[in-house]
Symmetry: none
Subunit: 185 residues, 4 copies
DNA sequence: CACTAACCGAGACGGTACGTCCAGTCTTATA
DNA sequence: TATAAGACTGGACGTACCGTCTCGGTTAGTG
């Protein structure tokens, strides 16, 4: 009944924020400037996201949102595909910073944590689907602990992003998946 | 010739900063408050550390602890021992907070990153040693990628700490190690 | 053919605005809140009054009350009567608040000033009538400057209301009139 | 012991604020702009005055501060002098607006009221001094109610400023004083 | 033993961003 | 048309915190 929110504004804000975040990092994103750049009042931003942090979460959510579930019939290839996708998305330095800020922010604020978890879950679900399919078609062990397997895959990626800072290239993704499938013994 | 610095102040500031950092996170550490709490002038803080970041580096550097390398002759048992140690250490909410802050701090500042890496390296080296021993005595595959293996072990732990928030108990540690050794296929 | 305006809304808005204006002052009257309190859309308010100021003008116009002109034949007694009336009316804290707001509103906006002056003029005319009668019947000096005399009477009252905050009781009214009539020399 | 406040800043801020107030009125005074114009941080303004309102009070206080007590030996001349001073100071439209805002603001806020009263008291004391001298040297009646007399003088001026909007010229001041001294009967 | 350089507390200062508040306008669906 | 609902622009406000600065006063160690 009331005037509906202008969804174009949502998109424009997210796009501009994404760009700025990539270029200038978290502190480089200034709400006042953002609003001016988009041609929108600051209030319009704050009506949608109560906090700069919340906005940043949305930005990343939008990036993550484009996760497709690969389904080639070959479990290994699918796993490589999804891990490669993660690796490519998270490798750039600006992305690493963002993820780190997000992890810290969600450790501080429960409200934010809920948002952030939704965000990771997109890829998590895709990975789980592939693994489940592998178990179903006999490619993977019957008693495979899917949770642990995902921890090992995604964990390895985030570990490099957040802790060691090591590179994330396609080779890494391939080796990681192979290592998971092969066992160390 | 001139009046010497009061070394008690150094210690008191570091201690208070460490406590606050763990409790309230990076943004919760406010130099003004810190100084007042310690009973010291803000100048005294800035005379020692030119920046809040530099102070945080010092705090983190002081957190270095030695990690024992378990050596029972049984590689699996040793891995379980070290992963269990990590899991127990990182499980408490306050530790998760802290790790998240450190990850974010690393991302913001290169100096900080160097310090923080030293922190993680203690455990990292221990894990690497166990894996190397396993390869040497034939328990593990010759062509094992030790880096990737560590990413999978430590990564899984940090992933739960920073991203999913899932529990870290001894069971998890055991299953994780077993999963690494067994392979998924 | 078209839907007619709801005249109940006019009344309800004016009443609520009057109350709020008296209680919380000009800045305390917030159009959004007013509309919500009355159960009316903001549009409904703005369709009737183009501006908050215009609304306030209407509120004030509605406050017009008639002031009786005392006529006992005794000029001093009549003056005391009318000044006492003013003093009693303006003494309460809420009235002082209101008068102050009206004075400020007058200063901000010419339209408002016109309305507010109508308000004051009721009593002003009554006082002028009494003074004129006094001059006519020889009780007061022929060359009395009626304007100035009114400034001295009403001014003293408003001065206490707006500037000094001093009490306004019947004694004050009596002394004031006597002082005017007697001269200081 | 600490770094002392820069009193030049106080003066510069007051001067600039005064000028802007005169030119652009209350709403035209924007703290951000003021600070920039003076070459001072906004915090420096807010350290001295908790609110824009408080600053405005100070500005007017500074204007009023320059009230000299005339002492020519002639009570009537002295009264005319002080009333003329008031009239001249308060006559300009910008000043009328300020006084009105101040009256309203002090009706709203007790803290502010205290400040504002101090302000008016400067002139009030001067007037009282003249009247007391007149009583002492026999120019004025022994039983003169000084309070009431001041209410009549200052009141007439403020009445015109705040209520009727009538002009305040030197003639008015002279007639007013004469009227007070002469009596109406 | 006086001198002197660095230290210390207190807190002012410039600068920058944040999130909030309100007025007045606009848009949609409904009556 | 009028209305409820509420989104929107625009602009100021007051707050928070960082890192720098300027005081008056203190405290070694040197000459």
């Amino acid at each position: 009944m009331a005037r509906p929110r202008n969804t174009d504004s949502d998109a424009a804000i997210l796009t501009a924020a994404a760009e700025t975040l990539q270029r200038d990092g978290y502190d480089g994103l200034i709400v006042d400037e953002l609003a001016r750049a988009v041609g929108v009042a600051k209030t319009t931003v704050y009506r949608r996201w109560p906090t700069k942090n919340h906005l940043v979460v949305s930005v990343i959510a939008a990036w993550q949102g484009e996760v497709a579930v690969p389904d080639s019939g070959d479990t290994e290839a699918d796993l490589v595909a999804i891990v490669t996708g993660m690796a490519r998305a998270l490798d750039p330095a600006s992305m690493r910073r963002l993820v780190a800020e997000l992890a810290a922010a969600s450790a501080r604020d429960a409200d934010l944590r809920a948002q952030v978890e939704l965000l990771w879950n997109a890829r998590r679900a895709a990975t789980a689907a592939i693994l489940a399919r592998g178990v179903a078609d006999g490619t993977l062990r019957d008693d495979l602990d899917v949770e642990i397997a995902m921890d090992q895959l995604a964990g390895a990626v985030y570990y490099r992003v957040l802790i060691t800072g090591a590179v994330l290239n396609d080779d890494f993704a391939r080796t990681l998946v192979r290592s998971l499938l092969a066992g160390a013994r």
